[in-house]
């Protein structure tokens, strides 16, 4: 049951072969057994999860169940949940309990899903390894000495280790897709504006999007159906007709044009990653899809552009954590400025402080034009590259990350090496595009490799369809990590 997809679990619940209570208990037991090592969760509220499960079962008994009613889910601890801590992996918010639910949480609540707990993450979503959390690093279930990727490493690990059937994550520069790739699960970053950011604690507002993490493309589709939708509380939310992604998975691969940017197959990619991705390309071609060689000449500027824009927005977004109204406040201070300084020095970790400093610098008088404004111009060039590319192809294929999972501590001393792990995931959010990662094999060390598909705005259905067709013919996505057998 723990290895079943959402569609299978939903069918089992509908056929009364299992109950939400039974399913939830199984997840809680597995969390109990594995999470001491993996550290994927910051908060698990058993009583609330079981209460949710009972309510879901009652709802189903009344004939009022949707497809996700009774399904236990884990949420990244950056989505506000009423009555449960929302820490963002930071000491600053270690004891913060939100008085309101994020839009995404409201939607899952309305769908009758069960809230298992809140997942560990890089502090304020800043990181690619889930090592910067105040609550300790998350460990990769394929090898506990390795990182699971980040920043949604807790969510990806929860799904990979089968502690939760599916989870939510958030993606700013790859924070859903890269950990999905490094833990062998599926993750989707939706088009900017498709999922409301209301209640998602902001890192970089122009890039942040919440999205699903699951075992299969169909799981992602079922999750996205619940998460997507207009919300007037988010001015960047897009008002468009609700889509039934799970009903649109039957994509005809014969008419599909797959773009292969030469920049995504260049140097710096591990051989095992390259081999698995090229194998997937051959499979698509064998199904009749055509491949188109492309150029994304400005994509290489994605990382530097991202590391100007995201810290700039973060430096402003994180100003509210000042010790005045909620969150951590220094115990002793001399005056107001001292209170601010001590509170923020104590409350934020090193990576967050580095980014606040960079962001403050690039917005400063005399530097704004050279950095922030210039970065915004290049951002538009990157978006234009994609616009041109999507005139020639329907989706762009490449590796999600240049490497498979790396050792805990291996890149913490060298931020640039860490940042380069996001080289392929950063361009899509800069252009507001949807992109997903699915497992496409293993490297010579037996570590999962992620395949990334990027599409035009609001082309989630096509991305999910292509991934679904691939998964109908493969079982990479159903492999269970060897260190966490069922």
């Amino acid at each position: 049951m723990l290895n079943a997809t959402l569609a299978e679990l939903s069918a089992a619940l509908a056929a009364k072969r299992t109950s939400s209570l039974e399913l939830t208990r199984a997840c809680l037991e597995r969390i109990e057994r594995l999470d001491g090592t993996l550290n994927a969760f910051i908060t698990v509220d058993e009583a609330r999860a079981l209460e949710d499960a009972r309510r879901a079962d009652a709802r189903r008994a009344q004939g009022d169940a949707g497809r996700l009613t009774g399904i236990p889910l884990a949420h990244k601890d950056i989505l506000c949940t009423r009555g449960l801590p929302t820490t963002c992996g930071s000491k600053m918010l270690a004891k913060f309990v939100s008085p309101y639910d994020a839009h995404v949480i409201e939607r899952f609540d309305a769908a009758g899903a069960v809230l298992l707990g809140k997942c560990n993450m890089d502090e304020f979503a800043m990181g690619s390894s889930s090592e910067t959390s105040h609550f300790g690093p998350v460990r990769n279930p394929w090898d506990a000495r390795l990182v699971p990727g980040g920043s949604s490493g807790g969510s990806a690990t929860a799904v990979a280790a089968r502690m939760a059937p599916a989870a939510t994550g958030t993606d700013t520069g790859g924070s859903i897709r890269q950990p999905a790739a490094l833990t062998g699960v599926c993750g989707l970053k939706p088009t900017y504006g498709l999922v409301s950011r209301y209640g998602l604690v902001a890192f970089a507002s122009s890039l942040d999007q919440a999205g699903p993490i699951g075992k299969s493309a169909e799981d992602l589709a079922l999750m996205l159906e619940v998460m997507a939708g207009f919300d007037p509380r988010d001015s960047t939310s897009v008002d468009r007709p609700q889509q039934r992604y799970s009903q649109e998975l039957d994509l005809d691969l014969k008419s599909l044009r797959i773009g292969l940017p030469k920049e995504y197959f260049g140097e710096g990619i591990e051989p095992g990653v390259r081999r698995a991705v090229e194998e997937a390309v051959r499979w698509f071609a064998a199904q009749g899809a055509s491949t188109v060689e492309l150029e994304l000449p400005n994509a290489r500027l994605g990382v530097p552009v991202y590391y100007v824009i995201a810290p700039a927005e973060a430096s402003s977004n994180l100003s509210r954590f000042d010790g005045v109204r909620y969150g951590h406040r220094a115990a002793e201070f001399a005056d107001l400025i001292d209170m601010y300084c001590r509170t923020r020095a104590e409350g934020f970790g090193t990576e967050v402080k580095q980014r606040i400093l960079v962001g403050t610098y690039v917005l400063s008088h005399g530097y704004y034009d050279a950095y922030y404004l210039q970065a915004q111009k290049v951002r538009r060039l990157i978006a234009r590259d994609f616009d041109l590319a999507f005139k020639k192809c329907d989706l762009i294929l490449g590796p999600t990350a240049p490497s498979t999972a790396f050792a805990i501590g291996a890149k913490t001393e060298d931020p640039v090496q860490m940042y380069l792990n996001d080289i392929f995931t950063i361009p899509a959010p800069l252009a507001g595009l949807p992109a997903l990662s699915i497992p496409c094999g293993f490297d010579e060390r037996g570590l999962p490799v992620g395949l990334q598909l990027t599409g035009a705005h609001f082309s989630e259905a096509r991305l999910l369809g292509a991934a679904h067709r691939y998964q109908q013919a493969s079982d990479w996505h159903l492999r269970v990590p060897k260190e966490t057998p069922l």
């Binding site: 008085p99 209301y198 100003s319 509210r320 005045v324 403050t360 704004y368």
Partner: protein
């Protein structure tokens, strides 16, 4: 060479909306601390701003009223700084692309028309309040005001001196209330002005170094502060010193300005476009709707009053000081059907005096234009004297009722019966032979004394014109 004082005014007008600029919380004044602060105003993690359409429409209304250019695509920007009553650590404002560019304010000063250009007007949110009293060794924070919509209106530095600056501020104050975008309540902080003051020699081309003066919460203080500041700068320069660019605070108790912070303390606000808010795009349709809804503006109405009712610029100015006053006047003229000049004299004289005395506003005046018109008609047709009319007005103010009822009940009708007046004149001449003789010997003054005697004998009711005619005839 004489010194010239140059002033530019920055005004924060609180927009008259029910809810805040970016949240649904109420903007009503005077609620218990922090009871009107929504999650967005407290800046809880994860909340997002949503721009208030009503505030945007009021800003556009202002822009159209001052003939400014409405920016069809304006941008909300973040102004970053730390302060305990600024919950997000930034204020949402407009920086490079304000919603209104340019425009002008017309006003009269010493009966002369003045036009002052505006630089811009932009939307922003207010901060909360830090309360330093009542908390020993601590500061209280009230976020009720945080997020209240403001329109910051910036004039060009082309006001010459304190009097002109105040006349501008008064005209702007009248205008924002006239077009209904701001309640104008200065005590509650709905209309706040800062003045940028500099001085230069008359023949100097550029501007002198300016100081920004804050805390000008009345027009009187504004005038005093600018006068003090200009004098301070002139004295400094004449003594061979230099004016330092700084922000100064006006202290009304001492009648002086003092330094708050110098240019060196100026913060780097790190403005950048707010990624939580899309560019504010104003469609043509909305512009034309708002334009159609604009009332006749004060300067246009003032000019029309001069033209249509043959009033002086001064009277027309008084009668268009507020929309309520102008509406009252036109209703009065229409209802009375008498000389508009008589209506103007009564409204700016008797009515205005009593309103002041009773501390009442014309909008809530107990004597309606129709009631006052009844009095003016009876003055015009000679039924009552001007003096009796004032009595009728006083009674009407206190007890209500129509002019005719009051005239009858209190016996205030003027005696216009020729026979009765002749009889009174004969009696007065008989009793004042001396005055009559004086008049006949050429002392014109004696005539007025005789008219006075006739009026006295009639206990004020005799028609003074008829009485004078009868006297002249008899004295022949």
């Amino acid at each position: 060479m004489a010194w010239e004082v140059v002033v530019g005014i920055e005004t924060h007008a609180q927009l008259a909306t029910k809810s805040k600029m970016f949240s649904g919380a109420s903007t009503a004044f005077g609620a218990a601390p922090n009871t009107q602060a929504a999650a967005v105003d407290i800046a809880l993690p994860g909340v997002l701003p949503v721009a208030n359409r009503a505030a945007i429409e009021l800003a556009i209304r202002f822009g159209l009223a001052v003939k400014g250019a409405i920016n069809r695509r304006s941008i909300f920007a973040r102004k970053n700084y730390f302060y305990p009553d600024l919950p997000k650590g930034y204020q949402i404002s407009q920086y490079e692309s304000p919603i209104v560019r340019g425009g002008e304010i017309r006003f009269t000063l010493n009966d002369a028309e003045r036009v002052v250009r505006l630089t811009r007007a932009h939307l922003e949110e207010d901060a909360g309040k830090s309360l330093h009293e009542d908390f020993h060794g601590m500061t209280g924070i009230d976020l009720n005001r945080a997020g209240t919509p403001l329109l910051e209106i910036v004039s060009e530095p082309e006001l010459r001196g304190a009097k002109e600056a105040v006349a501008y501020a008064r005209a702007l104050h009248a205008l924002v209330m006239w077009i209904g975008i701001c309640d104008g309540n200065m005590q509650e902080g709905s209309f706040r002005c800062d003045a940028n003051v500099s001085v230069k020699k008359t023949d100097e081309k550029g501007l002198g170094t300016r100081c920004e003066i804050k805390n000008l919460n009345s027009f009187r203080f504004m005038e005093q502060a600018i006068e003090f500041e200009a004098k301070r700068q002139v004295e400094l320069l004449e003594d061979g010193g230099q004016v330092e660019q700084e922000t100064r605070l006006y202290d009304p108790e001492r009648g002086e300005t003092r330094s708050m912070r110098t240019k060196e303390d100026a913060q780097d606000y790190r403005y950048f476009p707010d990624p939580d808010l899309l560019p504010l795009v104003v469609p043509e349709q909305l512009l034309s709707e708002i334009l159609q809804g604009l009332p006749e503006l004060p300067d246009v109405r003032r000019e029309r009053f001069v033209r249509e009712y043959a009033l002086t610029v001064y009277d027309a100015g008084l009668l268009t000081a507020s929309r309520a006053a102008a509406d009252y006047f036109e209703a009065l003229v229409k209802a009375a059907g008498v000389e508009p000049k008589l209506c103007a004299n009564w409204q700016t004289g008797e009515l205005s005096a009593v309103l002041n005395r009773e501390e009442q506003d014309i909008a809530t005046c107990p004597v309606s234009p129709q009631m006052l018109a009844g009095i003016l008609r009876r003055i015009s047709d000679g039924t009552i004297s001007g003096k009796a009319a004032k009595q009728v007005f006083e009674v009407m103010w206190k007890l209500g009722g129509s002019a005719d009822e009051i005239i009858e009940r209190d016996g205030l009708r003027q005696v216009s019966d020729a026979g009765a007046i002749e009889k009174l004149v004969d009696e007065v001449l008989a009793a004042n032979a001396r005055l009559a003789a004086d008049y006949r010997s050429g002392k014109e003054k004696a005539f007025n004394a005789l008219v006075g005697q006739v009026m006295k004998a009639s206990r004020g009711k005799a028609n003074p014109v008829q009485a004078a005619e009868a006297l002249r005839r008899k004295l022949g």
